[in-house]
Structures are given as structure tokens and as C-alpha cells.
């Protein structure tokens, strides 16, 4: 990957990350038919980890400051600390009771306000979507609020002459977009391999002071525009999906015999003809 030299590099990158329950470990409670969230370990939303890695690679190549931003309860510190241990310079958690229940409109608004308070940004990175809300609306929402150029579903960013070149994956092909900074990109899941935290990074976390907590009042967020009651959408109810019951016959052991049993079953079910 080539950039056009370090001239005109982004001075500050803000990466928006959310902490989510590990999707693989979420199970529907057979009794209550709701998702069991308690005791499920958390992680950085996987596409957000790719966004962070993209920022870190820009930092490795060009040198820049990386500020990681999240909005949520203080338990999100775990992910913000991990981000710093991976190499981010510092992180900000917007945390306030009144934010609870916010949908994507207040979330995009509150994050935008916080980004403005952080200031000095040239590049904003989000993940393509979260694994728990999976809307992908917050990133473009922030760009809308801040009236910035946006490029979504990006797998690669190059900085050429102080301008951003981004490779975007659409349904039918690959697009290269060019835009100016400051701008916002949302990053494709799986476009890179997020690095592990380092010893140096973990020490920096331990030394403290790199995770800042802000309340809505600290940022100047209008309480009438956030939270459950100021969110346009509500989740009226959640139905459990009852998938068609499956016969669930699992064969193991010698492959020849397993395959024979499988093919016989498929023929018996008239899925394939014999």
C-alpha cells in the first residue's frame, strides 16, 4: 500500500467503537425466549476492531494521533483500555444515565457533539455495522450531523497529497473514492487482522489517565435530544424465530460410511434422485 508521503497526513483520527456481547455466545433462553445476555463475555464490535487496526496502520505509516471514542456504560472501559493497549493514544467514553435507550439518531447526534468537543480531527472511522444493533446507520448519521464527506464499506485507505483515497466494496464491484479531509469512513469487517495488545500498551493503560469519561453536561449535549424517550424508534416487541425443525442426524466415524448414510438419507428424502 502506498501513500503519497507523510505530508498532509491526518493529524488526528477518531475511531468510534462499541462494546458488544460476543455474538457466538449469545443464546436464546429456551424458557423465556429472550436473548441471554448476562454472563456473556464482551468484545470490541468486530468491524470496529478492523477500523481501529486501519487507524493504527495509518499511524504506523504516517504518524498520527488516534483517539478512540465510545458511548455507553462504564463497563465499556474494558474495550477502550484494550484499544489503548493496542496502540491508540487515548480514549473517551461518553457515559451518562440519560443516554440509556438511545437509538441511532441520538447516538449519532451525541457522538457528533463529542467528536466536536475532541476537535482537531481529520479522519473519523466507524465500523460498517455493529453485531448487536446491525444497522450501520450511526457512521453515516455522524457524517450527516457534521456535514462531512462519507465513504462507507471501506477496506483500504491511502493518503495522497493530503486527500483520502478509499476502496469501497459495493455489491457489484470495487469502487475507489477520493475525498478531502476531514471525512468519515466506515470500515469493512474482516479487511485486516486487528493486532493484539502490547506490553507497552498495557503499561500505558496501567499508568492511567488515558481513558477519559465525559457526561452529557461535559460535552454540552442537549438532554432533550437523547435517551429512550427522545429516540424516534422503539422496539415494540421481539418475537423468537421458530425455525423449521430439522432432523439433526449427525454421522461421524469412517468417512466412507458417513457419506453412504448421508447420500442414502438425501435420496430417501427425495432431495437428490438415486
Amino acid at each position: 500500500m502506498t501513500d503519497g508521503g507523510t505530508a498532509g497526513r491526518p493529524r488526528r483520527i477518531v475511531v468510534c467503537i462499541k462494546q458488544v456481547p460476543r455474538a457466538q455466545e449469545l443464546q436464546v433462553d429456551p424458557v423465556t425466549q429472550t436473548l441471554k445476555r448476562v454472563g456473556v463475555p464482551s468484545e470490541i464490535n468486530p468491524p470496529d476492531a478492523n477500523a481501529l487496526e486501519m487507524a493504527l496502520q495509518l499511524k504506523d505509516r504516517l504518524g498520527t494521533e488516534i483517539v478512540v471514542l465510545s458511548m455507553g456504560p462504564t463497563s465499556f472501559d474494558e474495550s477502550l483500555e484494550r484499544a489503548v493497549a493496542m496502540g491508540a493514544d487515548r480514549s473517551v467514553l461518553l457515559t451518562d444515565r440519560i443516554l440509556g435507550g438511545s437509538d441511532t439518531v441520538p447516538t449519532a447526534y451525541a457522538l457528533s457533539e463529542t467528536i466536536q468537543k475532541i476537535g482537531g480531527y481529520d479522519l473519523l472511522l466507524c465500523g460498517e455495522e455493529t453485531t448487536d444493533a446491525s444497522t450501520g446507520h450511526v457512521g453515516p448519521g455522524i457524517a450527516g450531523h457534521l456535514d462531512l464527506p462519507q465513504i462507507t464499506y471501506v477496506s483500504e485507505i491511502r493518503i495522497v497529497d493530503g486527500k483520502v483515497r478509499a476502496r469501497r466494496t459495493a455489491e457489484d464491484g470495487t469502487e475507489w473514492w477520493g475525498t478531502t479531509m476531514p471525512c468519515l469512513c466506515t470500515v469493512n469487517f474482516g479487511c485486516n487482522r486487528p493486532r493484539e495488545p502490547t506490553l507497552t500498551g498495557k503499561i500505558r493503560v496501567k499508568r492511567g489517565g488515558l481513558v477519559t469519561h465525559w457526561s452529557c453536561a461535559d460535552v454540552g449535549i442537549d438532554p432533550k435530544k437523547v435517551g429512550l424517550f427522545n429516540s424516534p424508534t422503539i422496539v415494540a416487541k421481539v418475537d423468537t424465530v421458530r425455525l423449521p425443525s430439522r432432523s439433526g442426524q449427525i454421522f461421524s466415524g469412517e468417512p466412507g460410511a458417513s457419506v453412504r448414510k448421508l447420500l442414502a438419507s438425501l435420496v430417501a428424502d427425495r432431495v437428490i434422485a438415486a
Partner: protein
Amino acid sequence: MTDGHPPEDKTHFHGVWVFLEHRKQGLRDVSAQLIGEGRRLADLRGTTLTGVLPGHGVDDLARHAIGYGLDRVIVVDDPILETYASRPYAQVMAQLIRRHKPEIVLYGASKNGRDLGGRLHAILETGLAADCVKFDVDAEGNLDMIRPSFGGKSLAHILCKKHRPQMASVRRNVFVAPPHDPTRPGEVVREAVTLTPADVDAALLEFEEFTKEGGLQPEQADIVVSGGYGMRDPKNFAMLQDLADLLGGAVAASRKAVDSGWVPKMIQVGQTGMTVRPKLYIAVGISGAVQHLAGMQESDKIVVINLDPKAPLFEIADYGIVGDLFEVVPEMIRQLRALRATGASVPTAVPATAR
């Protein structure tokens, strides 16, 4: 920039709108599918169905779109709008929505649809439900927007009670495109929206289209043989193609196999790829992440081949083989060939009529 206004009186909002997405002078299939569902909702609400088509030189396309069931199409024609770009398109939509106050606006849950909707809902400060698969209208006349959550383990009903318009993006291939009637009457309205070159803040520099491999596509196939990260190497997909050929099926893949650069993006199954509902889905070396299930769990029969007996995909399998795919798949090919050599007929999918 956001309005910051309190929500307007919702009785001022009327009509159902569908954002018409186009690429290279063609209507995206999801847009045609949306028109069908939009028609149903407009009739339910006793109102009209409008398509919105920003673009350049798209009048023919507008007239064509009417054939799917629109009452009218609003065309905004500007060279700036030739191809999709976030900011100009969002400007156009925001101005039109403020001007006409539709009650419902639907987008395809495509990359561009989400790109646009996400920006727009923040500007208009109204609700947007992503990736819906079903709609209803509740007793108070609100749109009940139903979307999968957690990769389809549950369905959430989303309401947007106070704000208008109610906006939603719709997953591709969930609704069936209505038959096209070229004689259907409808109006093409040209609307002017002020756009300046300053509104163009990003430029599409290059586009490299994914090459469509010839032959059967997974979405059309009765049998899909799908490979995951367990395939280890792109060249091993040849083996899956052999199996698919023997069965008269098509090859697909998980996102991790696609992201690894082994197979083209076009054949990715899942939440961010395509949804397939074949008669038989054979998953080879795929673990079964929720995002993958979202694209295949409605297959008639699911066969799972995986080394790890604890792979989540086994939980929704009709049949499974716990074993090494590098032994199992060649064995399947061998036994199918043997069957074919000895048996009278060829083992392929049973024609639907015979079932």
C-alpha cells in the same frame, strides 16, 4: 445539518415513497421488489405510491419503474446525480421529503441504501429501521417495521410513533418483484432541487466490476455447495465445484472465505451477502456464525460437514458429517460418481414437480 426542530404534526404526512436505486441505467432488483411491498402498504393506508429517482437522463427508467406498480415517479435530474454519491443524494432526498412530507419512505438495504438512509435519518431526525423483512400497519396506523435481530435468532418489531416520515430499509430478495406492466399509467414529475458543485464532496474515481462467473448462480440453484474458512486454500474450491456439478448445483461461500480473497464477493452468503433458499444447502468447513445463518437458514435441507462437532451450524443441520472435509468431500464425489455409473438415473436435484 440537523433541524433541531421538534417533530412536526404527523397528520401532515401522506403517501408512501420508494427510493429507486439504479446502476448503469438499470433499476436494481431490490427497488422493483420494494415497489411491490410499497404498493401493498399504500393500499393499506389508502394513499399513493411514489418512486423517487435522482439521476441524470433517467426518464425512461422512471417510466419503466411505473410498470411495477407506482402511481408516480419524482425525477430529480442533474449531472451531479449521474452516479450515486452520499451527500448530493442525501441533499436531494432531504429537500424532497421536507417539501412533500411523505408518511413512509422505503430504501433497499443495499450498501447505497444504507449509506443514504443512515445519513438522511440523522439530518431529518427521524426513525430508520434497517434491513426489514416484513411490514404491518398497527391499530394506530403506524408502520410496524419487522427486522431480524442477532442474525435472525429473533425478530424485532420497530415502531416510529412520533416522528415522520417512518423510514426503513428492506433486505433484498425478501419480497418478490411484482410482474411488470409496461402499459400501467403513471406520472413522471420532474422536481428541481438546488445543487451546487460544492455539494459534491467526494468523487468516484474508479469502478471495477466484479466478474460474474458464468453458469448457475447460487440464488437460482436448487442445490448450493458452500465453502468456508475450513477450505484453507482457494484451489480447494475446485473440489466443491466438482461436487456442485455432479449435483447440478452452484458454489457459494462464507464471508471469511471471501474476505480471505479465495472466492469472489459475488458468491457470499449471509447477512451482508446474498440470501439463498435452495432445496439443499451443503455447508463445508463453515462454523455457522449468526451472520452466515441469516443468509441460509431457510434452506429446505441443510447438510453440514465440519471437523468440529461443536460447530454451531450443526444445531440447524438436517444431516451432518463430523469429519475432515478433505476426506469427506472427495468421498462424496466418488460415491456420487459410482452411483451415476451404476444407477439408471443421474443423482441431481429432484425436479420440484416430482416432490
